[in-house]
Amino acid sequence: MSEREKILSRIREALTLSAAVPGHPQDHLLQVVSEEEAAQHIHEWLPAVGETLEDGLALFAKNSYELKTDFRLVDSEEDLLAQLAEMASGWKKIAIHRGELTDAVCGKLGLPVCITDEGYDASYLESCDVGITQCDCLVAQTGSVLVTARSAGGRALSVLPPHHIVLARRDQLLPDLPSAFALLEERYATNYPSFISLITGPSRTGDIERILVLGAHGPKQLTVLCI
């Protein structure tokens, strides 16, 4: 018997005795909340979010402020470029991936560019001042950015450089976590990317005397530019 079968048979053996559902009288064996019910109701239990896009943007802005994410609404592509150009004064080289929004800014900053889709050297990527990516969506409820290997240029681009800039469109803002997971299912269910991440604020640690320090291993700065 393989180890897999041994473990599975021990599990089956153990499960011949049934256990009570938590929170219910002993020996009550039926589940009360079905999977479908839970999926329908979960947004009623999680932290509240508003109805409109404006509510969502306001909540995202409030969460960003608390998380120390630099969130900026921009009005046009020119405005976006202007904001980037302003930040770019201290940069020597940037890292980016191909995409609708990233392509628009890529060559325009006049800096050497590392494009991760074409393969890259990890030390070189590490030495870039900023990683610029797109995302799958923004989540108002938690101030999070959802990225995947496909939408954001792989696994390392959004975590290795010291500054991560996300370019997003307003219509990418979703109200809450359940809708973000629904989006993933809808978009990728037949073939998920090998990497998916919900990024909530810049990298942080509290491991020394529980004092908050930003930029533990990932980016010290997270900027979200929303057009």
């Binding site: 180890e3 473990i7 599975l8 599990i11 089956r12 053996e13 153990a14 499960l15 049934s18 256990a19 938590p22 929170g23 589940q31 909340v33 999977e35 109701h41 979960i42 009623e44 239990w45 999680l46 932290p47 509240a48 991760t116 890259y120 990890a122 030390s123 101030g143 999070s144 290997a149 496909r150 792989g154 696994r155 390392a156 681009l157 975590v159 290795l160 809450d176 976590l177 359940p178 973000a180 997971f181 993933l184 998920y192 990317p193 090998s194 990497f195 991440s197 919900l198 909530t200 990298s203 942080r204 640690t205 491991d207 020394i208 005397e209 529980r210 930029g215 533990a216 291993h217 990932g218």
Partner: protein
């Protein structure tokens, strides 16, 4: 008494005298409580969320064979190699074989509690490999060559001065009192390691059966780097980590963050479903998932305590536990400290050797109340006590209860005993606190109360 029990009581004796350390732990955990409460109250209905989380975990654990098979098949379909290990030795061998087959030299690790459980670092070092912990807290305790103090906050017992000294000694850096500078030292040292490491080892917080993915929750980004840069990624996880559906994370991620660290959501919640896929720009060439039993099926077979496998290792029960707060994490001598550790360690490592942990409890139930998946922790502590006693009755306790019953069943004998002890109590002061003192367990740290001059019955009869 077993040696583990003796060790526990002597360590507890020492640590509870360290008032400074106790104050540090308590103030850290109090500020955690404030943050946790704030985020908990942001939930529209925390209790409903908790109940559902408990039921989803119940479903997962009570159909574990189905979900585990589904999880493994989905992973394999996308090029992941899934390994099964019944015990720690097998898991260590599997990991060592992968590393040898890849001619790897250096290994970077993000936090893996299951790794502590199977002592993977020692095994790797003995085999001649360099292993570096990348989580800041784990990095610090690894440099100190000690175990994590808390399975969520590994270095919470240390002061910045101690960390600064440690870094100067081990890394040759200039002393500093600034937590930010200390963090940056670790950042600099570890950055090189990510880039040069051949193998990254991680744990997992959840295993999603539906899609065949592991989910890792972290704040620092070290796990993301560990899973992005090295050529080979190995994830080691217990078989109980499964969740049926991807969307279950919409509930579990915020609950884990809120209960565990007082955050709305942890900084990075990342899912890994395979090695680098066609068309992707990076990621490991090989992805291995090692599923560890190591007596979890023993716990599964106990239907009374099976729900302890629902645990998502948030650490909330440690944070609120009056015992943990005062004896501290190292005293337990276990991989998993606090109430959940006291419940499961007897199953993982032997009831008679670890039953003393279930006695180190005030049974206040704070743990049960804090648990986001509603594990009935304090009742499990009682059940462990009962099971330990039924399996191996201690003659001393048996005798004590026999005598107790004898006395309490006969009012005359009881009254006689009360009168007698009133008479002999004055003699107690001659042995007070010495080794001859029959009440030493009490008098070591407290005064013995004086027996009242009259019983309540006497008082009632004599009242005017």
């Amino acid at each position: 008494m077993t040696t583990h029990a003796q060790q526990f009581s002597s360590d507890a004796d020492r640590t509870t005298r360290d008032l400074e350390q106790r104050a540090q732990i308590q103030s850290a955990l109090r500020s955690y409580e404030v943050a946790r409460d704030a985020h908990k109250s942001a939930f529209q209905d925390w209790e409903a969320a908790r109940q559902t989380a408990a039921e989803i975990k119940w479903d997962a654990v009570n159909h574990l064979d189905q979900y585990l098979s589904e999880f493994a098949e989905k992973l394999q379909a996308r090029g992941t190699q899934v390994h099964w290990a019944s015990n720690a030795q097998q898991a260590r061998d599997i990991i060592l074989n992968i590393i040898r087959a890849n001619n790897a030299r250096s290994i970077i690790k993000s936090k893996v509690m299951t790794g502590e459980e199977i002592h993977i670092n020692e095994a790797l070092e003995k085999a001649g490999f360099e292993v570096v912990e990348s989580d800041l807290g784990e990095f610090i305790v690894q440099l100190r060559r000690e175990a994590p103090y808390h399975f969520v906050f590994p270095a919470m017992h240390l002061k910045r001065g101690e960390i600064s000294e440690l870094f100067s000694r081990e890394l040759g850096t200039a002393p500093t009192d600034d937590p930010e500078e200390l963090t940056m030292i670790a950042r600099r040292v570890l950055r090189e390691k990510y880039i040069t490491a051949d193998v990254g080892i991680s744990g997992a917080n959840f295993a999603i059966a539906e899609t065949g993915m592991i989910s890792i929750t972290e704040n620092e980004g070290n796990a993301r780097l560990t899973c992005a840069l090295p050529r080979v990624h190995i994830a080691l996880l217990g078989i109980e980590k499964v969740l049926p559906k991807l969307r279950d994370l919409a509930l579990f991620l915020p609950m884990l963050a809120t209960a565990g660290a007082g955050q709305a959501l942890t900084c990075y919640n990342s899912l890994y479903g395979g090695p680098r896929q066609p068309g992707e720009s990076d990621g490991p060439e090989e992805f291995h998932v090692v599923l560890l039993d190591n007596n979890r099926t023993h716990l599964l077979a106990d239907k009374e305590q099976r729900d302890a496998l629902h645990c998502i290792r948030c650490g909330a029960c440690l944070n609120v536990c009056p015992i943990y707060r005062n004896v501290g994490g190292h005293t337990y001598g276990t991989t998993y400290q606090g109430p959940i550790g006291s419940v499961i360690t007897p199953h993982l490592r032997g009831l008679q050797d670890w039953k003393h942990l279930s006695n180190a409890s005030s049974l206040c139930g704070a743990c049960t109340q804090a648990c986001p998946v509603k594990i009935d922790l304090h009742h499990h502590l009682l059940q462990n006590r009962r099971n330990a006693f039924t399996e191996n009755p201690a003659w001393r306790e048996k005798l004590t209860f026999k005598l107790f019953r004898l006395v309490m069943n006969q009012p005359r004998v009881y009254l006689f005993c009360v009168k007698l002890s009133r008479l002999i109590q004055p003699l107690h002061r001659f042995v007070d606190g010495t080794r001859l003192d029959p009440a030493l367990g009490w008098t070591k740290t407290r005064k013995l109360p004086k027996i009242a001059p009259q019983t309540f019955k006497e008082f009632w009869q004599n009242r005017k």
